[in-house]
């Protein structure tokens, strides 16, 4: 319940945050909303020596219409995404998915950037932004770079961010009227998904992100390819787990996860 001791520094800007994380080295961690990191620290599963608090960098909390995409500051809270009129109009799948993260209290504190940078495969927003073909903007000592969501998630809790980089913005293409659906299958409403599906479809195009179907968020490209080649939804959904390597845990065996993915992908696509 009580985290191990650490030093705490507060950054007033992205530049300062990057400087501070550089100064404090490998054991330092960014603290945004804290809803991924603090639970681990309370159980002493994480024991960073320094926390760089970026939660007060208010210029990184925004949702802006940027023409072909919506730009979301990394420190934008789930609740703000859930209730954003801009997102409701242009990226309703993301707004909807954000409303399924944790519970209201978590959504009042947790941020989209924190969730994506933590890259838990069981989280809703990494897979959802992956499905939407988002681009993430990282800022480091040498400036900013864009990372495609498809290149970002590299392993369990591992991302393309280097130690001195910070996620600053999430760019999500407008959905242009695509049909969409979000399936979150869990035991209790507050829980992580056992399997989740974020899907959109427009004409022959589609994007399907799978939650908790491997060590990273998974893009079900086999399903999308089959659909674009004219497969029926029912047939394409059978390929749902082709790109996945589901784990076993308290709630599901890998076989059950594969089964669920097929059912939920089919249901999601049917509702798109």
């Amino acid at each position: 319940m009580i985290p191990a001791a650490f030093d705490y520094v507060r950054a007033g800007s992205a530049e300062e945050a990057i400087r501070l994380i550089g100064e404090h080295g490998d054991d330092a961690k960014f603290l945004a909303g804290g809803h991924s990191l603090l639970p681990l620290m309370k159980l002493r599963l994480a024991q960073p020596s320094v926390l760089v608090d970026i939660g007060r960098i208010s210029e990184l909390s925004y949702i802006r219409d940027a023409g072909d995409h919506i730009a979301i500051g990394a420190l934008t809270r789930h609740m703000d995404i859930e209730t954003s009129a801009v997102l409701a109009e242009h990226v309703p799948l993301l707004a909807h998915a954000a409303g399924h993260v944790g519970d209201p209290q978590v959504r009042h504190r947790g941020t989209i950037g924190g969730s994506i940078a933590h890259s838990d495969p069981a989280s809703d927003l990494p897979a959802t932004t992956l499905a939407l073909g988002a681009t993430y903007v990282a800022q480091g000592p040498n400036g900013t770079r864009e990372i495609a969501a498809g290149d970002f998630f590299q392993g369990f809790l591992e991302t393309a961010l280097s130690a001195d980089e910070m996620l600053t913005e999430i760019r999500v293409p407008k959905m242009q009227g695509a049909g969409w659906n979000f399936q979150k299958f869990n035991r209790r409403a507050q829980d992580w998904a056992i399997v989740g599906v974020a899907a959109w479809r427009r004409n022959g195009d589609s994007g399907i992100g799978l939650v908790n179907m491997g060590s990273t968020p998974i893009l079900a490209t086999s399903v999308s390819n089959a659909l674009s080649q004219g497969s029926s939804i029912a047939d394409a959904a059978q390929l749902a787990a082709e790109d996945a390597e589901p784990q076993s845990d308290l709630n599901a065996s890998p076989e059950y996860r594969v089964h669920l993915a097929k059912v939920l992908v089919r249901r999601a696509l049917e509702a798109c």
Binding site: M1, L43, F185, R187, R188, A189, L250, S253, Y256, L260
Partner: protein, 817 residues
């Protein structure tokens, strides 16, 4: 003057709002961990990460030198503080094996979570930092998790016992032993089922907390604890630590739920008191949730085999039960008795002959000790008989409700002397069932099933019924004696009319959410003709309420509440003497109505209780030989258990593609006799039902093969939330208990007892067309899916209704001659 004053409307039965609530709602209530105790040292306990290991060395020096640390101790360091091992108050058989169990293990850890060392520090933070610096070396040993493996003694957990078997306890009906075999031989239908009661973690929202405060000079000690049992804890602490009992005072402040988990004597309570004595400073400990999952008792944990024999009409002719019960690593306060509390209930609410054969064998395992969890033995028994009844009904092709009706003990048979010799006080099972069936639209659901559960359907409708008895109101002391329980089952009450006609009630019950202050004030108001607002209820402090046996087993109202009513009677008797003296009337000519004594037929000759109370106080003019003051104490030993009953009906829809069970409706019709406060009764049923439903659908303490608890937090152990459970439709019937003057029965456990079988019966009913006859609890989506896989389910093979004889899968699930 014409006195037309009539007896005011009864206080009993009103939905009076709870007086407990404002303090709880505003944050002013003080739970144990809220107490501000200047100078207290904080205790933290280092727990074994191994489920079974020899402790080869414990080096506390690293912790002892850390900032803020006052002392660090191994189990061996503290061995001299214990006058005896931790108590088990229920040696159920003369040869029961009970390993010595001390607050800290010395040579061996027997479960993951067993305390092996501790730290005292000036802050909670320092204490928790320091336990990480204690160096313990372990020699890991093979782990026993499976109950049948435990029984094999391939690995013996407690070397000194030579076996993992604690006891075998049997209930056979004297003089009728041969009848069981005869009945099975003669039966038209038999059922032979095995059910697993998974381990559950009680998870009261308040984890445990303890503060031990030595008093200046003389050795007195106040122990504050988040406990259900301050009185029992006082005695046991005194015995275990060798403290003269009169020097121990135990206070249970606001307590945040218990459900049986705080019905115990725990290592940390003894550690705090022992170390507070040793260091002559207050010592406190508060439990973290993940610690609570390991170090507070767990519940259930049984493998049940139940066999029913029935005649051609489905009338039950014999019941045979074999239990294998999981004690965990040690016997806690009442661990061994828990399965036996259900021993009498495997015949359910049914009229069966004396052909009853029950046996329970209990084993030690390398897991957290089990003990009482809401219902304690009775939910298990009810589950087994109610599931088995559905199996029999399916086998016979009769409606499960019809089969139950054929077997109900009829209303006119009460009081009913059961095969066991126990007398069931009152009941009307048919009325409760009829009401529940109407509320649940049972016939309508059955009709919908015919159209919904068709070939290809992916949402299958199911409806499940359970009819239950709750043997509660623990307990007649003589019955407890026959079960070798080490204490009685009485309850004490004092009713004291103060000089200003306000009333103090002292009760030995110890509420932790049940609303005793409100309910007891209503009983006194009813009896004494005062407003409930004029009644104060004192409890949960052994210095203020020195006599009592506390709160568990749905006993508080039918034992403690009745004791209060009886104490009121005694006060009224004494007041009558004073009134007679003052009114110059014969005591027999007085009547006590609406708080005043009046001479029958002479309404102008009246004396209110207020005047009598003042007379009793001044003692200026009392009858010769009568003691001053108006107060009476009663210790009430109930002549019988109380037997609430009811019918629960659950309607579910099962998603055959995912295994998800959605509860569409839950109907609970409960009969707890006369209701003191229906608001509180409803709340008890709601909460009880959801805990039972949670066992059926959500909760399970999962251990891996190394004995690690995988569900040690509320993220993994699935206590359901508001959005995961249904609203509940309640109904009540009212069949007063004839064994007590209030006509009341207990209600705290009823919901839990009725719920799990109703839910699982509904799930199995929904899936019956797929050839599924049982689903393991919890009926999680994964478990339901596995059951469908195992049955090689194919939605195209749905056989709606599944009520034709012989529709169950062939094999070992039962037989029809």
């Amino acid at each position: 003057m014409t006195v037309t004053e009539e007896r005011p409307a009864s206080v009993l039965g009103q939905r009076l709002l709870r007086r407990e609530d404002p303090a709880l709602l505003t944050g002013e209530a003080k739970y144990t961990n809220d107490l501000n105790i200047p100078g207290a040292l904080y205790l933290a306990v280092l727990r074994s990460p191994y489920a079974h290991a020899r402790i080869t060395s414990v080096d506390v020096s690293g912790a002892a030198s850390m900032p803020g640390v006052v002392a660090a101790y191994s189990g061996a360091d503290l061995a001299s503080l214990w006058a005896g091992p931790m108590p088990c108050a229920w040696p159920v058989t003369a040869d029961m094996k009970n390993p010595a169990h001390y607050p800290l293990a010395v040579t061996k850890a027997a479960y993951a979570g067993d305390g092996v060392a501790c730290v005292l520090a000036t802050s909670d933070v320092a204490a928790h930092d320091a336990i990480e610096a204690i160096d313990v070396t372990y020699e890991a040993l093979p782990v026993v998790i499976d109950l049948n493996e435990a029984l094999s003694d391939a690995v013996v957990i407690h070397d000194e016992l030579g076996t993992n078997k604690s006891y075998t306890w049997e209930l056979k009906v004297e003089g009728h032993e041969g009848q069981v075999d005869e009945a099975f031989a003669a039966a038209t239908h038999t059922v032979n089922e095995q059910y697993v009661q998974q381990r559950l973690i009680p998870m009261a929202m308040e984890p445990r907390a303890v503060v031990a405060v030595p008093q200046p000079y003389g050795g007195d000690m106040i122990l504050y604890s988040a406990t259900q049992i301050p009185h029992i804890l006082k005695i046991m602490t005194a015995l275990t630590l060798g403290i003269p009992e009169q020097q121990m005072r135990v206070i249970a402040p606001a307590v945040g739920g218990g459900f049986g988990s705080k019905l115990n004597v725990y290592a940390e309570e003894l550690l705090c008191v022992a170390l507070a004595r040793k260091h002559a400073v207050p010592v406190r400990w508060n439990e973290e949730r993940s610690e609570n999952a390991l170090a507070t008792i767990q519940g259930r944990g049984q493998i049940q085999n139940i066999e029913l024999a029935a005649d051609a009409d489905g009338k039950i002719t014999a019941v045979r039960v074999r239990l294998l019960a999981d004690m965990g690593a040690y016997l806690q306060l009442v661990t061994p008795g828990i399965p036996l509390l259900g021993a009498f209930l495997y015949a359910g609410v049914y009229d069966i002959p004396a052909a009853y054969d029950f046996s329970c064998t209990s084993v030690f395992t390398n897991m957290t000790p089990t003990d009482a969890y809401r219902g304690a033995g009775r939910p298990e028994a009810t589950y087994a008989i109610e599931r088995a009844m559905d199996t029999l009904a399916a086998q016979m092709g009769v409606d499960p409700v019809e089969l139950r009706r054929r077997n109900f003990i009829r209303k006119e048979q009460f009081p009913y002397t059961a095969f066991s010799g126990l007398v069931y006080d009152s009941g009307d099972h048919d009325a409760a069932a009829t009401k529940a069936l109407a509320l649940a639209d049972y016939d309508g659901v059955r009709a919908r099933q015919k159209t919904q559960n068709v070939a290809g359907a992916t949402k299958l409708l199911g409806i499940g019924v359970s009819t239950y008895f709750e043997m509660c109101g623990l307990a007649p002391s003589r019955v407890l004696a026959s079960l070798n329980y080490s204490a009685g089952g009485w309850e004490a009450a004092t009713v004291r009319v103060l000089p200003t006609n306000k009333i103090q009630v002292v009760t030995g019950t110890s509420p932790h959410g049940q609303g005793h202050e409100t309910a007891w004030s209503m009983i006194v108001a009813e009896k004494m003709g005062v407003s409930p607002d004029d009644v104060d209820v004192l409890h949960s402090d052994t210095a203020i309420a020195p006599l009592g046996l506390d709160t568990y087993g749905s006993r508080s109202l039918p034992v403690g509440g009745v004791a209060i009513a009886m104490a009121c009677d005694k006060v009224i008797d004494k007041a009558a003497k004073i009134a007679a003296h003052q009114l110059e009337a014969n005591e027999d000519d007085l009547e006590f109505v609406a708080g005043a004594f009046t001479v029958k037929g002479s309404p102008d000759r009246s004396m209110p209780l207020a005047a009598i109370a003042f007379e009793a106080f001044t003692a200026h003019n009392l009858p010769d030989g009568l003691e001053p003051n108006l107060e009476a104490q009663v210790t009430y030993d109930p002549p019988n258990f109380s037997w609430p009953f009811g019918t629960h009906i659950c309607t579910v829809e099962v998603d055959t593609e995912t295994g998800q069970v959605d509860v569409l409706q839950y109907v609970a019709v409960d009969d707890c006799g006369v209701q003191v406060n229906p608001l509180i009764v409803d709340g008890q049923v709601h909460g009880g039902v959801i805990q039972g439903l949670a066992q059926a659908l959500y909760e399970e303490a999962v251990y891996d093969s190394d004995g690690n608890l995988k569900t040690s937090t509320l993220a993994e152990y699935l206590v359901p939330g508001a959005s995961d459970v249904p609203s509940i439709t309640l109904g009540h019937t009212f069949t007063p208990s004839p064994t007590n003057q209030l006509g009341v029965k207990g209600i705290g456990e009823a919901g839990t007892i009725g719920a799990a079988p109703a839910v699982i019966n509904a799930v199995v009913d929904a899936l019956s067309g797929l050839g599924i006859t049982n689903v393991a609890m919890p009926a999680s989506p994964h478990n339901v899916w596995k059951a469908m896989q195992a049955a090689n389910a194919n939605p195209g093979n749905i056989n709606p209704g599944n009520t034709k004889p012989g529709n169950t899968k062939p094999g070992n699930r039962g037989a029809t001659k």
